[in-house]
């Protein structure tokens, strides 16, 4: 092909790519919401004074509010959670989640919550340990979801406060050191800097160039949106191609499962050492239809969590049957252009009321 024509084609392609990025990927996106589907709404609890007491992304304003909400004479209960905590199915105006309900009932306790979607127990271990290093905590509430034991690793968008600090988990424990290494990698923009702990001239220049481009160019700012959309589409196409939906049975991934259970063990041990009363519970799951797990694996998981909780002097509660079928609902399709699907993770506001009622005696009224 003629070189000049080729160059013209490349210039046209660059122009087209720019237009696609500007038009197709503009605006604010929330991929957590996109993952939840349009039928489920994210909800972060507030106290009576309107202060945020519940964070998902550890945003600076949330953190300031949460620290300011702490009443020094009261005991503090930290609730961990995943999207079940911060979502309400078929939400209607005025409805609140179980954290806010518990806060309304609490007269002797500060209620704080840090939840994150698909929270694996390694993330929960890190987040709880970080909170323990920041404030005095008397109780810790840990829901253990079978689903989330398939997850692994840290996600920087949910631990910004931890990344901004120089916090590290206690060294000498293999899993802690692995998590610490991952933290370092997230703190440093390049592999090189993460390995050597030193920024190269390239790291410095690259960061400045990126900041300058983000400040001046809309299409540069749209890049994360485009990446998110791309992976979301891939996820939907995969599901469509292989007939995967929310009801499909998912198998446990042994190594991830083991790492997450080790993280739970480390977390409960830390609570024990600090005199923090831990409550571990099996969260509600939709039981009016067949669960999307291998039943034997699920039963063994429940038994293991219970045994671990008891061995570390933590309270244990199995709340799996707490929320009846009609209080669950539907979630947006996980396939490309598909119909809404059964939601096994998020329930309606009435479910949150039931969960708050079940947790209150175990936390607010605990001896």
């Amino acid at each position: 092909m003629n070189a000049k024509i080729d160059l013209v084609l490349m210039a046209l392609a660059a122009l087209l790519a720019g237009i696609i990025l500007k038009v197709g990927f503009g605006g604010e996106r929330n991929f957590d919401e996109a993952a939840l589907g349009t039928l489920t709404v994210g909800y972060e609890a507030k106290n009576a004074a309107g202060q945020c007491i519940h964070t998902v992304k550890q945003l600076e304003a949330d953190m300031e509010d949460m620290l300011a909400s702490i009443h020094p004479e009261r005991e503090t209960i930290l609730f961990l959670g995943n999207s079940q905590t911060h979502s309400i199915n078929q939400w209607e105006d005025g409805q609140v989640n179980y954290i806010e309900r518990l806060d309304r009932q609490a007269t002797k306790h500060n209620i704080l919550c840090n939840s994150l979607p698909n929270a694996n127990l390694q993330e929960m271990h890190l987040i709880a340990s970080w909170w323990m290093s920041q404030i005095d905590i008397q109780q810790l509430v840990v829901p253990v979801f079978m689903d989330d034991l398939r997850e692994d690793g840290l996600r920087k968008e949910f631990i910004s406060a931890i990344l901004a600090s120089d916090f590290q988990l206690e060294a000498g424990v293999p899993l802690n050191e692995e998590i610490n290494r991952e933290l370092e990698a997230l703190r440093n923009p390049t592999e090189q800097a993460a390995e050597t702990g030193r920024q190269t001239p390239q790291d410095v220049v690259e960061k400045r160039l990126n900041e300058a481009l983000s400040a001046r160019s809309e299409i540069w700012r749209n890049r994360p949106n485009a990446r998110g959309d791309f992976f979301l589409k891939l996820y939907q196409w995969r599901n469509t191609l292989f007939g995967i939906n929310a009801s499909t049975k998912r198998k446990m991934i042994p190594t991830r499962y083991a790492a997450n259970m080790t993280a739970l063990d480390l977390l409960l041990t830390a609570c024990n050492q600090r005199g923090i009363q831990a409550l571990v519970y099996i969260p509600p799951i939709r039981t009016d239809v067949e669960v999307p797990y291998d039943v034997k694996e699920y039963e063994s998981f429940v038994a293991q969590v219970e045994q671990l909780a008891h061995s570390r002097s933590a309270q244990f509660a199995n709340l799996e049957r707490l929320v009846p079928g009609p209080l669950w609902g539907l979630k947006g399709s996980t396939t490309a252009g598909g119909e809404p699907e059964l939601d096994f993770m998020h329930f309606q506001a009435e479910g949150h009321r039931l969960l708050a009622e079940a947790l209150a005696p175990l936390t607010l009224e605990a001896p």
């Binding site: 092909m1 080729d6 490349m10 390239q202 690259e206 990126n210």
Partner: protein, 489 residues
Amino acid sequence: MIFNSVTFLLFFVVVSLLYWGLPTKPRYWLLFISSLVFYAFWRWEYLSVLLLSAVVDYFVARGLQATPTQERKRRKRLLAISLTVNLGLLMYFKYLLFFTDNLNHLFETLGAATRLPYWDIILPFGISFYTFETISYTMDVYRGHMKAEKQFITYGLFVAFFPKLVAGPIQRAAELVEQLKKRPRFQWSFLSEGLKRMLQGLFLKVVFADNIAPFVDEGFAMDPASLGGIDVLTLAFLFGFQIYFDFAAYSHIALGAARVLGIEIPENFNFPYIATSMKEFWKRWHISLSSWIRDYLYLPLTGTQVLVSTGKGGIGQSLGNEPSQRRKNWALFATWAIMGFWHGANWTFIVWGIYHAVFILLERQLSPLRNRFPVLGRGWITWPLTLGVAMLSWIPFRAASLTDTFVMYAQLFTPSSLLVMNMRENTYLVTGLMLLAFLLSWFGAVKVGPRIQRAAAWSYPIQLAQYTIMMLMVFVFLRPINQFIYFQF
């Protein structure tokens, strides 16, 4: 400087504009200084190592040029200076920690209290590549294959030329120096061919290699005993694709950047995973290294006189007298062990090298049997076999230790764990997709591409769509999160 970064792209635009805007003579000063700046963006203090290697070989080569061939002793002494300095640098920066560690283990095993101290050494980027280039330059002058370069700037540019400085392709001095002296005039084809290669390279790196990396890292971080046979095979294939996309991407960008500047550097890859024998694989994979190893290591070890050296062709070409089979086999194993050790200071790399030697030797022995199959259907048997052998060779290359390597290989032969699948479902899916993408890209480039190119009018919209998709993806995924795998060698 990392190619997959905004910093590099900006640097390259500025250098290219200045380069073609300047008269021919100062261009080489510009390229030399730019190359030093390129390197200093990693760590400026390690420029001294690069310059030391270059300066020593410059003077050694000048000395060799000035010494008549009859003065063999003096010539050998000069060559020894070059080899000592270059291999000494490699030994210190790359292998000292390995030897210290092994000696300390030996002392411990023997019950001796002696322990050698561990020094805090950082491996300078590209040292394995530029020392090989400077050694080959001196060897070529020593063998009389080329004359020593008078101008330091021309020679220095051969060593430091930024597109291939950090991870090759390993260039022969004669090939580059000759081009530099010709001082090419600007042609639009330089720009179009170069930009196309750079786009291809960036696409392979940021879209494929970087997105495969987390799956590979996760798989190899697992306890190898928990992996099933299918898991090991999947990881071998997945890492095989990651390293191919990563390294081929680097080579594409290097070739493209050089082309924009009017300079040609040799091809390094040619769809290696369609090879139907291991010998063919090494004529398609890291071609510049295998041809270097052939000319400066394997052939001398077999006692063959090297008559011509080129950076093309890969392994397997015998130039000159034919050595005995026994000596060839010995040279094969020694060469591959050294080749493995060149890649990294770890026993796993030596195992990787020996693995290749074993299969190449096996192939030599079995070639009469292979030739009995009809030519037409032969590829359908030999291709999957070669692909499996080549992919499984990546296990020691990526595994953390020898123990992990052997445990992983053992899982392939353990009937009870053969079908166990312990990794995330997406890992298997991505591996399958990568195999499909590789085969389609080969089919597209080799079978369909040339036909489309011939039908000029038809090809424009297809080319436009292809460029648009590639640019869009590169723009979206361009982040210097992972350096190129071969930077560590």
